[in-house]
């Protein structure tokens, strides 16, 4: 049995595990929409000023409140749910994965299979809210809007995996996730730029409101962050589940 076959079997087994947790997956898919809808349908029609990145630089715009904050909340929910699902998929299976490693799996093979599976989950998590945002909000660039949701999910997934590799206890892990994304979405100005989902959030605003959206720099930044997070996660995950090889 070669390494690719091993990755494929790990992917299949992790997918089977997720299939039997259908309630969890439903919550993951519904929660972002629920967060957004709860604010969208209760917000007023007053205007608020926001900064929108465009190809020609940042532009200040007045947009209806219900088109701004509810979306931020929906984006935060995508990040939270993806991070929490990823955290539990990693942290919850640490002992079992260690037995697999003891029996001959490479820690990277298990992690790679998990990354592929969670990327698929992230894809679905981004498509479901988009299917509502497009008809209700008429974004300027729906495809870019989807890209920002998907990238947010990917970054959140990686942060969830990293915290899962680092923090053995679930309560602490979940609280840290809440803190990272909660604070990341709340802070304004220069401090906001320090958070890993900031470029995706900027892309989101640009896709929603700008005629000429700024895409590439944000995608590049997020890709770099994603690669760095994957490498760091792999290192910590290796040390978390390593065994002595004879």
């Amino acid at each position: 049995m070669n390494k690719i076959q091993k990755i494929f079997i790990s992917l299949k087994m992790q997918a089977l595990e997720q299939r039997r947790r259908i309630a969890t997956l439903l919550i993951v898919f519904i929660l972002p929409v629920a967060f957004w809808a709860s604010l969208y349908y209760t917000a007023g029609d007053e205007l608020t000023q926001i900064t929108v990145p465009t190809v020609d630089g940042d532009v200040k715009m007045f947009v209806p409140v219900k088109k701004s904050y509810p979306l931020d909340l929906g984006l935060m929910a995508v990040a939270w749910t993806m991070a929490v699902v990823s955290f539990f998929s990693e942290s919850g299976s640490a002992e079992k994965d260690r037995r697999l490693v003891l029996c001959g799996y490479g820690s990277w093979q298990i992690l790679l299979a998990r990354l592929i599976l969670l990327t698929a989950v992230s894809l679905l998590t981004s498509v479901i809210p988009l299917s509502l945002f497009v008809p209700v909000l008429s974004p300027k660039h729906p495809l870019m809007l989807w890209l920002s949701l998907f990238i947010t999910g990917l970054i959140a997934m990686e942060i969830g995996l990293l915290i899962g590799a680092l923090i053995p206890r679930s309560t602490e892990g979940v609280l840290i996730i809440i803190a990272i994304f909660g604070i990341g979405m709340s802070v304004q100005g220069k401090a906001a730029e320090l958070f890993p989902t900031y470029p995706a959030r900027q892309l989101f605003r640009s896709a929603m409101f700008a005629d000429d959206p700024l895409v590439l720099p944000f995608v590049e930044q997020e890709l770099l962050i994603l690669i760095a997070l994957i490498i760091v996660t792999l290192i910590f995950w290796y040390f978390r589940i390593r065994v002595r090889r004879f």
Partner: protein
């Protein structure tokens, strides 16, 4: 310390089965596992204070001891789950390890667990081997049931089956028959009896039927004492 471990394969020896174990030509027993002066501390608690152990091919070795005496720690050190502070562990051949608490994928069925761990071992015919073992341990009727819905005894059987899938040279078992009914207990020893030429290291706080064992040690004050 994650060093000082060796692995070697059987090679070139002329072997014969004598006195319950395989002997090298000339009458010397062939060691499958050698543990030499192994020390392990958890902070100030010195759990293993120079453990020496040799398991020869074909032997069934038992280790008893009180709760908290370090039996499971010793096994974890042997299989590589725990690093140790001093000493040497030498393993000649492959091993199968059955942990005290079943480590299983609860949302996967028995058969899926077997398939997953077979892939880990890199064996193609893991499912047929698993089916054979399920029959021997009388649990094949549960093969399609997710592990979380299995009884404690059946989970333990699956735990044991996983450690046997690749037909290891030495089987390292941490309280393998806890939760078994008497019939399953007998099936377990029947299965062990069929493993001709293989070695077994069993840890259990109590050893009831001593005739099953080639040697029995007691872990006391961090050292193994021959009983």
């Amino acid at each position: 310390m994650w060093m000082k471990h060796h692995r070697s394969c059987y090679g070139g020896y002329l072997q014969k089965f004598e006195r319950g174990c395989w002997m090298k030509e000339g009458g010397e027993s062939e060691a499958v596992l050698e543990v030499k002066d192994v020390h392990k501390r958890f902070g100030r608690h010195h759990v293993l204070k120079g453990v020496d152990l040799k398991v020869n091919r074909g032997e069934i070795v038992g280790i008893t001891g009180e709760n908290g005496s370090g039996k499971s720690t010793l096994l974890k050190v042997i299989v590589g789950l725990l690093p140790f502070d001093r000493g040497e562990v030498i393993l000649h051949g492959t091993f199968g390890y059955c942990p005290q608490n079943p480590v299983l994928f609860d949302d996967l069925t028995m058969e899926e667990n077997i398939e997953y761990f077979s892939a880990a071992y890199g064996i193609e015919d893991g499912i047929s081997r698993g089916n054979e073992l399920m029959k021997l341990l009388r649990c094949e009727q549960f093969r399609g049931k997710p592990a979380r819905y299995l009884s404690g005894g059946t989970r333990q059987k699956l735990n044991l089956i996983i450690s046997l899938l690749h037909d290891p040279d030495i089987l390292i078992l941490d309280e393998p028959y806890q939760g078994f009914d008497y019939e399953s207990y007998l099936s377990f020893w029947d299965l062990i009896g069929r493993m001709e030429g293989k070695s077994v290291l069993v840890v259990s706080p109590m050893v009831y039927e001593r005739h099953y064992f080639t040697k029995i040690y007691r872990l006391e004050d961090g050292r193994l004492k021959y009983e």
